[in-house]
């Protein structure tokens, strides 16, 4: 499974989006507000799930956070670059 697909699965699992399937999430679709409509609590939940699964810790002071969390594609890029090989 591609990292993008894995992350979609993680999003559905961690945020309990029972009626959403992996194929329903477009990699370029915004995660927050429009698109999937996630909020800041979801973002934290997702950040913690990513930390747990990939050992990638997203820090509060990272100026790129807005960009990293903009959609699944950018999230996958970030996780791919930072996870332990």
């Amino acid at each position: 499974m591609s990292l993008e697909a894995e992350l979609k699965e993680l999003i559905i699992e961690a945020l309990m989006l029972e009626d959403v399937a992996i194929d329903d999430i477009d990699s370029d679709e915004p995660l927050f507000v429009e698109g999937l409509g996630l909020d800041s609590i979801d973002a934290l939940e997702l950040a913690m799930a990513i930390d747990k699964r990939y050992g990638v810790r997203i820090k509060a002071d990272d100026e790129q956070n807005k960009q990293i969390f903009s959609n699944v594609r950018s999230l996958a890029e970030y996780v791919g670059q930072h996870r332990a090989a």
Binding site: D39, S40, I41, L44, A47, M48, I58, K59, A60, N65
Partner: protein, 301 residues
């Protein structure tokens, strides 16, 4: 009053409050607490006369507790809010000599500090959160408070001028990831983060609980956040007693918030109900400390 009318009142009120706050700040610096307290009586009277929506909400609230209030009882409510806001100027700048503090349950906070355990404190727009913070800074407790700057931006700007250092311990409520990550990191480092858990925030996640005999909406966010951080939760309220006493309360709420997947909504409602019941208990002790000047039991429009 029409919606548009209410809006324009809000703008004027904000302008009025910034002028008022600056003037009061100047008064307190130049002359001290007593003349400033005299001046805010005039401000409070003005607001009671012209802030019709705040007046209406206060009437509704007091009617539930004490029966229909007189104009002067409504005025007293608005005056208490003004007095507590004025005192926050002294409290954030560490001028504690004006006040007397009574403390119940502060051993919980001391234990957290000694064991370097991070925790969440749930408060309300009731009495003074600044009194709790002021005491904590004299005892080097790593206490942070979440503030809703959208509503309080101007007052916060003034507080920042008064005490830039203590302002660093106010966390500005944000909508993005950073705000939540920041809270997580602080709690993991052993800090104590105070959240006001009585107003439904911008995220709109809410649960209903019985409050003074009727269902009202409370935010669900604080419990969800605490469940993720797996940290202990305490309730904290600082009751203001005219003219200069603050009664600070801290009591355990939960060792850990647990939201089982299958009954998440019910669990959230149970926590919110426990919060609402304890809040009601304290509000009965000091109804004049209730500082939610909007229709608290109102439905979202």
């Amino acid at each position: 009053m029409s919606e548009a009318g209410d809006q324009s009142w809000k703008t004027r009120a904000e302008l009025g409050s910034i002028l008022g706050v600056r003037f009061v700040l100047w008064l307190t610096t130049a002359f001290g607490r007593a003349p400033a307290r005299g001046f805010i009586r005039i401000l409070a009277f003005y607001y009671t006369l012209f802030a019709s929506s705040a007046r209406r909400a206060t009437r509704d609230f007091l009617s539930r507790i004490e029966g229909p209030p007189s104009f002067w009882r409504v005025y007293q409510q608005i005056l208490r809010f003004s007095q507590v806001t004025l005192d926050s100027l002294f409290l954030v700048s560490g001028k504690l000599g004006h006040f007397e503090f009574d403390r119940t349950g502060s051993e919980h906070l001391e234990r957290l500090r000694e064991s370097k355990t991070g925790a969440i404190l749930l408060g309300a727009h009731f009495g003074s959160m600044y009194a709790m913070r002021a005491r904590s800074s004299t005892e080097s407790l790593p206490l942070y408070a979440v503030v809703y700057t959208k509503h309080a931006a101007r007052i916060n700007a003034v507080l920042e001028e008064v005490s830039p250092e203590s302002h660093a311990k106010l966390l500005q409520m944000g909508e993005g990831v950073d705000f939540m990550l920041r809270i997580k990191e602080l709690v993991e480092e052993g800090a104590i983060v105070a959240i006001l858990a009585d107003r439904v925030g911008a995220d709109g996640r809410a649960v209903e609980a019985e409050f003074f005999g009727e269902r009202a909406r409370f935010p669900a966010g604080p419990y969800i956040l605490a469940s993720m951080l797996k940290c202990p939760v305490y309730l904290t309220f600082g009751l203001y007693r005219d003219p200069k006493r603050y009664e600070l309360f801290c009591e355990p709420f939960a060792d850990q918030i647990v939201l089982p997947r299958k009954r998440r909504e019910e669990a959230l409602e149970e926590y919110a109900q426990r919060y609402a019941s304890r809040l009601e208990h304290y509000v009965r002790e000091a109804p004049d400390n209730w500082f939610n000047f909007y229709e608290f039991w109102g439905r979202p429009s």
